[in-house]
C-alpha cells in the first residue's frame, strides 16, 4: 500500500485511511436507517442533563478540576518536583553545576 517502501516503518496510512472512511460511511448509513431527529428542538429535550445542580455556570468543570484524582494520588510526587524545581535563577545554576559535576565524574571514569 505504501508508495515507497521503507523497511523499518510498518505503517500503511492509505490503507488505514481507507478503513476509517469506510467505517464513517457505514456509520452514516446506520444513522440514516435507524436514528431519527424528530425530537422537539426548542424545548428542554435538546439540553444536556446535569444532575445535582440547576445553575448552568456550575455545570462547567474548569481545567484545574480535571484529573483531580490523578493529581491527588500523585501529591507526594508533585511536592518533590515543586521542591526540586523552584524556578529561581539560583536554583537553575545549582542544577547546572550539579549536572556538570556529575557528568565530569561519570565521563572521566572517576565514578564508574
Amino acid at each position: 500500500m505504501n508508495i515507497v517502501q521503507v523497511e523499518y516503518l510498518h505503517w500503511a496510512p492509505l490503507f488505514w485511511l481507507g478503513i476509517f472512511f469506510g467505517l464513517v460511511v457505514v456509520l452514516i448509513i446506520i444513522g440514516k436507517l435507524f436514528f431519527t431527529n424528530d425530537y422537539n428542538t426548542v424545548g428542554q429535550q435538546s439540553l444536556p442533563f446535569y444532575s445535582g445542580t440547576s445553575n448552568s455556570l456550575l455545570q462547567l468543570i474548569t481545567a484545574s478540576s480535571l484529573y483531580w484524582g490523578f493529581k491527588h494520588t500523585l501529591d507526594a510526587y508533585f511536592l518533590i518536583i515543586k521542591r526540586l524545581f523552584i524556578s529561581d535563577v539560583e536554583d537553575f545554576i545549582q542544577w547546572f553545576i550539579i549536572i556538570v559535576a556529575g557528568m565530569l565524574l561519570i565521563l572521566t571514569g572517576v565514578l564508574l
Binding site: H10, L17, L60, L66, S87, V89, I93, F96, V100, M103
Partner: protein, 508 residues
C-alpha cells in the same frame, strides 16, 4: 555561485538585520518586505543545494577570509584562524527545517505583532535570531559556533522580554539571558581547553586530534552540558516554561526552534567526540537515554497539572525533547558498541529521533501559534477562564486538533510516525523504555484533551468572535498541511532527508 551558499545563509539575514532599522524609519511596509525577502533568499538557497548534498553526498566547505574559499584543511596541518563553514546532509536537514519554519513564523508575526508594539525592534531581533540559527548550523569551528550561539541567545532574550510594559516578560528575558550567559561561559571554557592543547577550533580537525586526555574529557562535558541546557533537558529545563509562556506566540515558536538547533549542536558534538572509549569513559548514549526518560516523564507530568495554556505547552516541549534524546541515545550507544545492533535497530532509532525533531518543530510551532490566538481572544492564559471557542472559530479549532493529535502520537498525523519508529526500535534495545514512552504519550493526549475541553468546548463566551487575519491563517494552514502530509506520506522525508542526515552524522 553554488559554492557561496554557506556564507549566503549567514550573511543575508545579518545584512537584513542591519538594514531594517534604517528602512523601518522611512517605510514600514518596505521594512517588513525586506525581512521577508531575506528569509525567502535563505529558503531558496537551502533548497538550491539540497540536490547536491542529499543525492550526491557533496559536502560544502567554506573558509571566510581565505583567498580560495574552498580550501579544505588537511588533518595535522597548522592553519590560520578563520571562520570555517560546512554543510553536510545532517546540517542541511536542520537548515531546510529552519529556513522553512522561520519563514512561516515570520508570516504569522507580520499580522500578530501590532505596528504600535515597536515592530522595528521586533523585526530586527527576529532576523538576528535567524542569523544566529543559520550561523550555528553552518559553523564548522567551535568559536564561530559560540559566537552565533551568543547572537541567538541575545536576540532570543530580547524578544522574550519584548513586551516590556508588562510585569513578567522582562524578568523572563533577564532570566533567559542570565542562564544563557552562564551556559555559554562554560561552553567557551570547553573550547579553550581544546584550543590550548591542539591549537585549533576546527571541528573536523579536533575530531581526529583529540587524544582522550583528562582535559579533553572535561572539555567534552563543558561543551555538551550547556547545549543540553539550551535544549531544555531535565533537570535544567525550568527556564523553558518561564520563557515560552511570557514571549509573544511566534517568538515562543522561534525559541523552541532555537532549542532544537542547540540539540543539533549537542548531537554533532556528541557524535564527533563521544563515540570512542578513549574520549569518554562511559557511553554518552546511556546518559542521553536517562536524560531523555527524565525529560519525557517530568515534562509531561508537570504539563498535566498546569492551568496556564502556554506553560502547559512549554512543559510538553520539554517532554518531547525526551523522545529525541531517547532515539538518538539508543543510536549513540550502539554505534559506540560497534556490533550488529546498529544495523538492526540503532540506525532506525536515530531515524525516529531525527524525524521527531522535524515533527516536533511543526506541531509545537502550530500549538504555540494557536495558543497565541487563544490568548489574544480570551485576554488570559488561564484555561479556567476559557471556554467555547469552537462555537465561532472553527478554523482555530481544527488546526489545534490536528496539532494536538499529532503531538499525542495519534495516526494519521506526523507524531505517530516518528513515535512508532522510536517505539519499535527502542523496544529491541530495552522494552521498558518503550513502555515509558507510550505511557508519556497517553499523558500527553490527556493533557491536550484538557486544553481542548477547556478552551474550545463548553458554553460560548460573551466575547465578540474575531476573524483571524489572512497571514495568520495561511501560516497555520501550511504547518497543519505539513503535519498531515508527513503523517500520510512519511516515506518521502525519510528517504530524502532523514536517512542521509543519519548517515552523515554517523560517518562524520
Amino acid at each position: 555561485m553554488i559554492k557561496h551558499v554557506p556564507i549566503v545563509l549567514v550573511a543575508i539575514p545579518l545584512l537584513a538585520a542591519f538594514m531594517i532599522p534604517m528602512i523601518g524609519m522611512i517605510n514600514r511596509t518596505a521594512r517588513t518586505v525586506i525581512g521577508a525577502i531575506a528569509l525567502v533568499i535563505i529558503l531558496a538557497a537551502s533548497y538550491y543545494i539540497a540536490g547536491d548534498v542529499l543525492n550526491h553526498g557533496r559536502i560544502f566547505y567554506y573558509m571566510v577570509g581565505s583567498s580560495n574559499p574552498e580550501i579544505v584543511t588537511e588533518h595535522g596541518l597548522t592553519f590560520p584562524i578563520r571562520i570555517g563553514l560546512k554543510i553536510d546532509s545532517f546540517s542541511l536537514f536542520f537548515i531546510i527545517m529552519t529556513t522553512t519554519l522561520v519563514f512561516i513564523f515570520y508570516l504569522f508575526s507580520i499580522q500578530y505583532i501590532e505596528e504600535n508594539e515597536r515592530k522595528n525592534y521586533f523585526t530586527v531581533l527576529f532576523i538576528s535570531m535567524v542569523a544566529g540559527m543559520m550561523g550555528l548550523l553552518v559553523a564548522n569551528d567551535l568559536f564561530t559556533f559560540f559566537v552565533f550561539l551568543e547572537i541567538l541567545s541575545i536576540s532570543s532574550a530580547a524578544l522574550v522580554a519584548f513586551r516590556t510594559e508588562r510585569k513578567h516578560p522582562p524578568y523572563a528575558g533577564y532570566k533567559y539571558m542570565f542562564i544563557s550567559a552562564v551556559a555559554t561561559s562554560f561552553f567557551l571554557l570547553g573550547i579553550a581547553f581544546l584550543y590550548a592543547q591542539y591549537g585549533s577550533f576546527n571541528i573536523d580537525y579536533l575530531k581526529e586530534a583529540v587524544r582522550g586526555t583528562l582535559l579533553d574529557k572535561i572539555a567534552i562535558v563543558l561543551l555538551i552540558i550547556p547545549l543540553a541546557m539550551k535544549s531544555g533537558v531535565v533537570p535544567m529545563h525550568m527556564w523553558i516554561p518561564d520563557t515560552y509562556s511570557e514571549a509573544p506566540a511566534p517568538i515562543s515558536a522561534m525559541v523552541k526552534l532555537g532549542s532544537l538547533i542547540c540539540l543539533y549542536g549537542l548531537f554533532r558534538i556528541s557524535f564527533s567526540f563521544g563515540l570512542s572509549h578513549a574520549h569518554v569513559s562511559y557511553p554518552l548514549g546511556v546518559l542521553f537515554i536517562v536524560f531523555g526518560i527524565l525529560s519525557m516523564f517530568i515534562g509531561v507530568t508537570q504539563a498535566l497539572v498546569q492551568k496556564d495554556v502556554k506553560r502547559l505547552m512549554a512543559f510538553h516541549a520539554v517532554s518531547q525533547v525526551g523522545y529525541m534524546l531517547l532515539g538518538m541515545g539508543v543510536g549513540l550507544t550502539v554505534v559506540r558498541a560497534g556490533d550488529a545492533s546498529f544495523a538492526l535497530f540503532g540506525k532506525v532509532a536515530m531515524i525516529g529521533g531525527l524525524l521527531h525533531v522535524v515533527n516536533n518543530a511543526l506541531y509545537k510551532g502550530l500549538l504555540f501559534l494557536t495558543s497565541g490566538v487563544l490568548v489574544r481572544h480570551f485576554k488570559t492564559r488561564n484555561l479556567d477562564a476559557m471556554h467555547g471557542l469552537a462555537h465561532y472559530d472553527v478554523f482555530t479549532t481544527v488546526v489545534f486538533m490536528i496539532a494536538a493529535l499529532a503531538i499525542s502520537g495519534i495516526p494519521p498525523f506526523n507524531g505517530f510516525v516518528s513515535k512508532i519508529i522510536i517505539y519499535e526500535s527502542v523496544f529491541q534495545y530495552n522494552p521498558v523504555l518503550t513502555l515509558i514512552a507510550i505511557f508519556v504519550s497517553i499523558l500527553t493526549l490527556a493533557s491536550f484533551m484538557k486544553v481542548f475541553y477547556s478552551a474550545f468546548l463548553g458554553m460560548p463566551s460573551n466575547k465578540r468572535p474575531m476573524e483571524q487575519p489572512v497571514l495568520i491563517k495561511c501560516s497555520m494552514i501550511v504547518l497543519a498541511f505539513f503535519i498531515v502530509v508527513i503523517g500520510i506520506y512519511p516515506h518521502g522525508i525519510l528517504k530524502a532527508l532523514i536517512e542521509p542526515a543519519v548517515n552523515a552524522l554517523v560517518n562524520f
